[in-house]
Amino acid sequence: MKNKKYINLRFIVLLSLGIIFSSCERGFSDDVEFAEFPSNGDVFLDAFSAGLDYFPFVDAGADPEAFSVETEEVFEGDAAMRFDVPSFGNGFVGATFNTTARRNLSGFDALTFYAKASQAASVDAVGFGISGETGNQFQVTLNGLQVSTRWQKYVIPIPDASKLIAETGLFWLAEGASFEGDEGGYTLFFDEIRFEKLGTIAQPSPAIFEGTNAVENTFTGSTLAVSGLTQTFNLDSGINQTVTVAPSYFDFTSSDTDVAIVNERGEISVIGEGTAQISAILANVAASGGLEINSGGGLQAAPTPTLPQANVNSIFSDAYVNATESNFTPGFGGSTTEVTTTSANGDAVLSYVNNNFTGIIFDTTVDGSARTFLHVDVFAQEANVEVELQIRDVGANQTIESDNNGFPIADDVDFRFTLNNLTVGEWTSFNIPLSGDITNQKNNLGALILVGGPNFLLDNIYFFSE
């Protein structure tokens, strides 16, 4: 239906031109057809197809030398694609193969190819639809493609081919050893890569939020993203093949557009108080999974601090000049936390979603020798939120040093405090004494570690003395 609208729009534009031209007394002939891009489905059979080029992900650390055209190990014809996957620590194979001339792929239902490898392997990602120009609007990815040492045909179904009328990204892959002991130092071969109309891609079963029905308690002004977007088809082999698909394949709906709206990129904006259900369809099939948004309306601002600047070393507060800039998204390995800055009635606050552990890492350490407390305001939208806050002094070497359980070692010390007994829907203020192990070592305060929650807001984080 999207496509139709688009054509109608173009038609209307032309029609309005036509009105101008109407003084010439000319109308449209019945067979006015709009130009279409060529529907060539070939990607790489025995050579690069028309307009195709190789674009390695060099900026991301991919080895541009990993790709070559192979003439010995071929499935059919006289050439195949060859990728030499580096061993661990030596980069990875990552590239997209795009055309300079756009293709109309709407007549196909799958990208197919033959693949094998010098050893059995699980290829991290293979797909199509990488396009810098459109922000990968119609990207499709098959994760964990299992290849063996003999040639086998693989099928990556197209979630909704009617969207693919002007495509450039015909094939992409990423594979590398992501840890010591992961497969690497082997060779991958691909041949007869093409878009096909198989006619056997059937029984679509799209999903958002991994097919689960989630509930999010939030507030006006916050933004959320539709995640876990997949399309699953049953192939003629009987396999249910799931691919990860870009949001633009879906049409999203909010049950109450006074509460929340969703754009075609799957970005949800909460714009009012109330409840809205986010759902989606893909090519006229309802997706499983959804999100219920409960918006409590505008978020009230945290209490405005009253201490003079001179009494404060601030980490995060609109009321004070920062003592240091900080990294609020340190990306600890294994962290599931999403941190965003959002607005509470014009006041910037930190939003933590799905926190297991994260931290606020100070760019330069804070000398807290003259300070006695850490202040923080915490807001919870649901019951039983508990966050452990660890105030870390990193010592003279200015480096965070922890054992495998996260406890300070070497010259580091910390003090741990649990933020709990929060009143749902209100800001709770804490003044945490700089006590315990940091009582006598607080001149190199370097980080605040946040454990658990999992969902909460923070504001006005500062060290102070009365």
Binding site: G199, T200, A202, N234, D236, G238
Partner: protein, 275 residues
């Protein structure tokens, strides 16, 4: 009846090819035209299937109807009904009388039995591991002359995990079960679970011709069977949706329930000269 003509044309071509390739069996190569409609169920009345044509097998038979099938057959509306112009046979995942699944099996035994003829049905099949729909026939003397001596003609069998593959077979004494005379047909660029397809046989004194839509894909003659030819007597029709069993394997966690086999029509023709 454009379709019918097309089948006959193809049938004609097929027979011609056989004729040229095997001149010594000239007298057996005949096109059997069955044009006289004898019985038809168009499933145009909502509710239970027409009692004058269809009866039911109920329960699990002996050892899952001889195949370790997992379903309990019922005649409940939730397993079998006529609705919107089609017969709906539905497999459900539910605990019922000690079985983990329920479904239905219809048969024309003691209601409609015929020797020779053209038997066809237009069906949309379910999909997924463990789904085993069938449109088939058994010798009407099966109570006195137990299987496989009674004979069996499988007009359509299909495994849900192979949604493009149709299997047509005959079973008889010395060629039953895994040794049946059988052929698979792979549908090109299409599947059996996304639309209706016509599954049929033309059965005469010398041969059974198997077709799907307008494609004749097999002919089984007296010479092809490795035992006694038991197809010169009346047979009755069966339609069912089995779940699991030796032939298809058990459903897995990805198999969708409930799922239905939809039958648009069943039609049987005869040729007054042959029948």
């Amino acid at each position: 009846m454009k379709l019918k003509n097309k089948i006959y044309k193809i049938l004609g071509t097929f027979v011609l090819v056989i004729f040229m390739g095997a001149c010594d069996t000239e007298d057996e190569q005949r096109v059997v035209n069955f044009t006289q409609l004898v019985v038809a169920d168009e499933f145009s009345t909502d509710g239970a299937p027409n009692n004058n044509i269809w009866g039911f097998d109920i329960g699990t038979g002996e050892n899952g109807w001889g195949n370790n099938e997992l379903q309990y057959y019922t005649d409940r509306t939730s397993n079998v009904k006529v609705e919107n112009g089609v017969l709906v046979i539905t497999a459900q995942r539910e605990n019922f009388e000690g079985s983990a699944f329920t479904s239905a099996r219809l048969l024309t035994k003691d209601r409609f039995e015929q020797r020779y003829g053209r038997f066809e049905a237009r069906i949309r099949l379910p999909f997924g591991q463990g789904m085993w729909p069938a449109f088939w026939m058994l010798g009407a003397d099966i109570d006195e002359n137990p299987w496989p001596a009674a004979g069996e003609i499988d007009i359509m069998e299909y495994r849900g995990q192979n949604p493009t593959v149709l299997i047509g077979s005959v079973h008889g004494p010395g060629y039953s079960g895994g040794n049946a005379i059988s052929k698979e047909y792979v549908l090109e660029n299409d599947r059996f679970d996304t639309g209706f397809h016509v599954f049929g046989i033309e059965w005469g004194p010398e041969a059974v011709n198997f077709y799907v839509d307008d494609v004749l894909y097999n002919q089984i003659t007296r010479e092809d069977v490795t035992g006694e030819w038991v197809f010169d007597k009346p047979f009755f029709m069966l339609m069912n949706l089995a779940v699991g069993g030796t032939f298809v394997g058990s459903p897995n966690e990805e198999t969708i329930f409930p799922q239905s086999m939809l039958v648009d029509y069943v039609r049987v023709y005869e040729n007054t000269n042959e029948n």
